[in-house]
């Protein structure tokens, strides 16, 4: 494409065709989706494969479009102006011989990338169109009309094993049979305990002493404990009498029971 011979930033040499193109775009500037969209539309006027497009020509067309909009006092969104500035820069890079001093991408590289972007956008548009043209569910292809819902039932299953059962039963039965025994144990004064105590005490009891005097201090107040201790002590006393270590007497019914050590002399 012929680049403007006397290129200058301010005065854009614009061909009639480009003016017309720009004019056409201006009419519908709101219909465009940004500068890339405009560029893609402009590129169509070149009627070539997007890969062979002249970015320089495209840049000129775009700049003409922006100039025209300015002339018509049409408010263009900022990104259109950013693109214009960038394309003006690109144009200068493409026109001027490469500056060996300057690093960064060359004009050709920038142009190639813009061409890639345009081609990619076009490809996506074609793909979108192809996608939308496919057989669509609910328009061309249909799902089952009379849906049979899958009934979801949640069953709670209770687990209990024979073992659980037997243990439960054992728990109940053992509680019944033995709990009283376990409970009373704390308040039961056994004969063994009483014997132990008596054997220790009797040596010092040469005189008749009331049975109750043999009860341990702690067992005297609580009636249940007192009763248990009394019985055990009495039983122990009988045992010791039987063994010949002790004498026992009661003067009358319900009279105090008295104990004393069996004297060795007699």
């Amino acid at each position: 494409m012929t680049a403007g011979d006397d290129f200058e930033e301010d005065v854009q040499p614009i061909s009639v065709a480009e003016r017309v193109a720009a004019e056409a775009l201006i009419v519908d500037v709101d219909g465009f989706e940004g500068p890339l969209d405009v560029l893609l539309t402009l590129s169509r006027t070149q009627k070539v494969d997007l890969r062979k497009i002249s970015i320089l020509a495209l840049a000129k067309q775009y700049l003409a479009f922006v100039e025209h909009a300015k002339a018509l006092r049409i408010e263009l969104a900022a990104d259109y102006l950013v693109m214009a500035a960038w394309l003006a820069y690109l144009k200068s890079r493409l026109l001027l011989p490469p500056d060996p001093q300057e690093d960064g991408p060359s004009g050709e590289e920038l142009a190639a990338h813009l061409a890639f972007q345009l081609e990619r956008l076009q490809a996506m548009r074609d793909a979108a169109a192809q996608l939308m043209a496919r057989n669509r569910l609910g328009r061309d292809v249909f799902a089952r009309g009379e849906v049979q819902e899958v009934a979801r039932t949640r069953t709670v299953r209770y687990s209990a094993t024979l073992l659980d059962l037997m243990q439960a039963y054992a728990r109940i039965r053992t509680r019944d049979d033995f709990r009283p025994f376990v409970m009373d144990r704390e308040k039961v004064y056994t004969m063994e305990q009483a014997l132990d105590r008596m054997r220790g005490l009797i040596r010092f009891r040469g005189n008749w002493t009331d049975l109750h005097g043999f009860l341990p201090e702690a067992w005297r107040t609580d009636p249940v404990m007192r009763r248990s201790a009394t019985a055990a002590t009495f039983a122990a006393a009988l045992q010791m009498v039987k063994e010949g270590q002790m004498e026992i007497r009661q003067s009358d019914s319900f009279a105090p029971i008295e104990l004393r050590r069996k004297s060795d002399e007699t």
């Binding site: 209770y158 094993t161 024979l162 059962l165």
Partner: protein, 220 residues
Amino acid sequence: MKDEDDRETDSLFEAPPMGEQERMVEAMLFASAEPITLREMAGRMPHGCDPAEAVAHVRKRYEGRGVRVQRVGEAWAIRTAPDLSFLMQKETVEMRKLSRAATETLAIIAYHQPVTRAEIEEIRGVSVSRGTIDQLLELDWIRFGRRKMAPGRPVTFVVTPEFLDQFGLETARDLPGLKELRAAGLLDNRLPPGAGDGGESGPDDEDGVTGRGQSELFEE
């Protein structure tokens, strides 16, 4: 099958081949939200089609398949084969451990059947909630037995064959007695109630019970 002769039988229009008509009927039956009448099918199909015949063919084609073409009143529909209805339910099973109250109540019924509620309460030492009995009834593990010949003629409870099945017993008499329980090392009432040791599986429980604990209690 032949009895729907309310169709236009002959047509001057060239109708699609019957194979095509079958496809059409198949698609309509599938996509329709409700059963379709032959009249409606005819209205949708190209001129000259014979939906009655097409339906008959499709119906035949689906014989013995997973779905079948069924007549519903004056219309036709595709329906799941009755023997496959189980596929239309998704059952989620949630395992829960039977509560202590329920287990104990069940045990008492099993060991003492037929037994009245009052007797259960006496043995357990606590009252038995209605919910517990209901739950066991619902599980089909207990049922009502004969009324007791006692004042008020109270109902009794007995265990069911389902119970025996569940617990792998021939009869309730097979339940081990206390002596056997002790011999098996199963008596340990120090175990936390309802044993929190995930006792789904027997062996685990057994492990949990091996500790001596209060089995001493049985030694007089």
